[in-house]
């Protein structure tokens, strides 16, 4: 009996996994195939990307400040407070910036994508589009993916810059010389860190968009179904971001040699 339940659960899991990657694959193929919905892309870029700017600025500012605060406390006994700038920058650019920005955007945008597509499914708008001859992946999924692929790295760059600035404010409060703070940055950062800081959010952006679209397009039921789908999309994309972050970090370590 127990095995039957496990068997069924595994079957559902692998079925869902297959569908998820099928959607991702089809999205990838259609990214390079006509028709290109430029207007839809612009709308989504504004809706999903630009409107998340404020939340990313806040996230960057306060995480940078708290990073600097904690580092100052730890480094003070060793008289190494001049390294605060470098520590904040390397931690934020390589790791915390991409992950925090992605998690914030996943909460805000992932749920919005799912709720929008889920509502379109339950009100038969998606069926109507299909009948009108529209490829729903090209029309609904690809523009969101492209928008997130471009928007999240940009938002992360803003988050990183603001966090370094936040760390600077905190350091200034602790009488750290601004020149020392800024000169510490290149001592810690290498070019690959900057690459890592941009590639990671690009991957996370695609994960947020694909997950939001996948869960949204598979929404069943009415308003309750849409609500639970939105919640599911946020949880799923957050977990996927953290898991992918680990594997991406491992991959970048291999390149670092």
């Amino acid at each position: 009996m127990k095995f039957a339940v496990i068997d069924k659960l595994l079957l559902i899991f692998f079925h869902e996994l297959q569908d998820y990657f099928t959607l991702a694959g089809r999205t990838f193929v259609r990214t390079f195939r006509r028709p290109f919905y430029y207007r839809e892309f612009a709308i989504q870029f504004d809706k999903l990307g630009f409107s998340s700017l404020f939340i990313c600025v806040l996230t960057g500012l306060f995480s940078g400040m708290v990073m600097a605060l904690q580092s100052l406390i730890q480094l003070k006994p060793f008289a190494a407070t001049s390294y605060v700038g470098g520590m904040v920058a390397v931690t934020m650019i390589k790791e915390l910036g991409p992950v925090l920005a992605a998690l914030m955007v996943a909460g805000r945008v992932g749920s919005a994508i799912t709720a929008e597509l889920g509502t379109m499914v339950v009100t038969e708008q998606v069926d109507a589009m299909r009948v009108e001859g529209t490829d729903i992946i090209s029309r609904l999924v690809v523009p969101r993916c492209k928008a997130m692929l471009l928007a999240l790295p940009l938002l992360t760059i803003v988050t990183d810059m603001v966090s370094v600035f936040g760390g600077y404010i905190m350091s200034a409060g602790y009488s750290i010389n601004p020149i020392m703070y800024i000169s510490g940055l290149p001592q810690f950062l290498v070019f690959q860190d900057l690459i890592e800081g941009v590639v990671k959010p690009a991957v996370f952006g695609v994960i947020i968009a694909i997950t939001g679209c996948y869960v949204g397009l598979n929404t069943r039921g009415g308003a309750e179904g849409v609500g639970s789908a939105a919640k599911q999309a946020v949880v799923l994309s957050s977990v996927l971001i953290l898991v992918c972050d680990f594997f991406l970090a491992k991959i970048f370590l291999v390149f670092r040699g």
Binding site: E124, Q125, A128, V131, E132, G133
Partner: protein, 266 residues
């Protein structure tokens, strides 16, 4: 009549989560013969429309649009055949993010064959046909239920289809709204469109169709004209026309739908 002038279903079975919705279902919609599929709520009427359009895949059986069997084919390979059909969904299914004008001209924009001014002309013509041209720049959220249905009909008409499917077109409308929609459907039929309607509203059905199919317990229980239906001695048909013994469809004691119960136990 040739097969190219029809849409057909052959020996179709469809189930959801083990619950049988349709079993060994055969159906033909010939050009020029307007039909209605009747049945109680949850009988699988809307499912038939979605199967005919290739929006759902059957468990077994075949669906033909003209000569082409669309069952199992990827959507892109029967897109041209499907363009012969338009559908008016129950709630209208208008695109929230677009204005009425954009909704009506959606397929024309997508096809990209006409210029902006030509599309606007077609859109205005279709909106005027259904009597809501004043709503051109409004969004669906600003429309009443009846207006949404009219706009949905205008959208269906925009690409000049041969067949138009109606999913419960008069549900939730006041008597005048019902009259107006029936009138619109009759005008479409007069213009040569073939209509297929699914409804449980007999007034609308008898006003707009020549042939009727009654679904019961996942199967086709009856098929015939209005006269044949009214003269039928099949208890369920009689019950559907003049409900006196609700136990044929519903369990009076518990209020449960007997068909659902039976399907659930399968």
């Amino acid at each position: 009549m040739t097969f190219s002038d029809s849409i057909r279903i052959e020996k179709l079975c469809y189930s959801i989560g083990g619950r049988k919705i349709l079993e060994d279902f055969d159906f033909v919609l010939e050009r020029g013969i307007n039909r209605t599929i009747l049945g109680i709520s949850g009988a699988g009427k809307t499912t038939i429309l979605k199967l005919l359009l290739g929006l759902l895949n059957p468990d077994s059986g075949k669906v033909f649009i003209g000569d082409l069997c669309i069952t199992g084919l990827p959507e892109s390979s029967f897109m041209q055949q499907r363009k012969r059909i338009a559908i008016v969904f129950q709630g209208g299914a208008l695109f929230d993010s677009m204005t009425v004008g954009e909704n009506v001209g959606y397929r024309l924009f997508e096809e990209g064959r006409l210029s902006q001014s030509e599309i606007t002309k077609v859109v205005l013509e279709k909106l005027s046909f259904v009597g809501v041209e004043a709503a051109l720049n409004l969004y669906p959220a600003e429309l009443s239920g009846g207006m949404k249905k009219r706009v949905a009909i205008a959208r269906a008409l925009a690409a000049d289809p041969e067949y138009i499917f109606f999913d419960e077109p008069t549900t939730g409308l006041d008597p005048i709204g019902v009259y107006n929609i029936c009138n619109l459907i009759q005008r479409l039929q007069a213009e040569g469109k073939t209509t297929l309607m699914v409804t449980h509203d007999l007034v609308t059905a008898f006003a707009t169709s020549q042939r009727f199919t009654l679904l019961h317990k996942a199967r086709k229980l009856f098929e015939g004209s209005e006269e044949e239906m009214k003269a039928s001695t099949i208890p369920e048909v009689r019950e559907f026309l003049e409900p006196t013994d609700r136990s044929l469809f519903y369990d009076v004691q518990t209020g449960n739908d007997k068909q659902q119960e039976q399907a659930g136990s399968l």
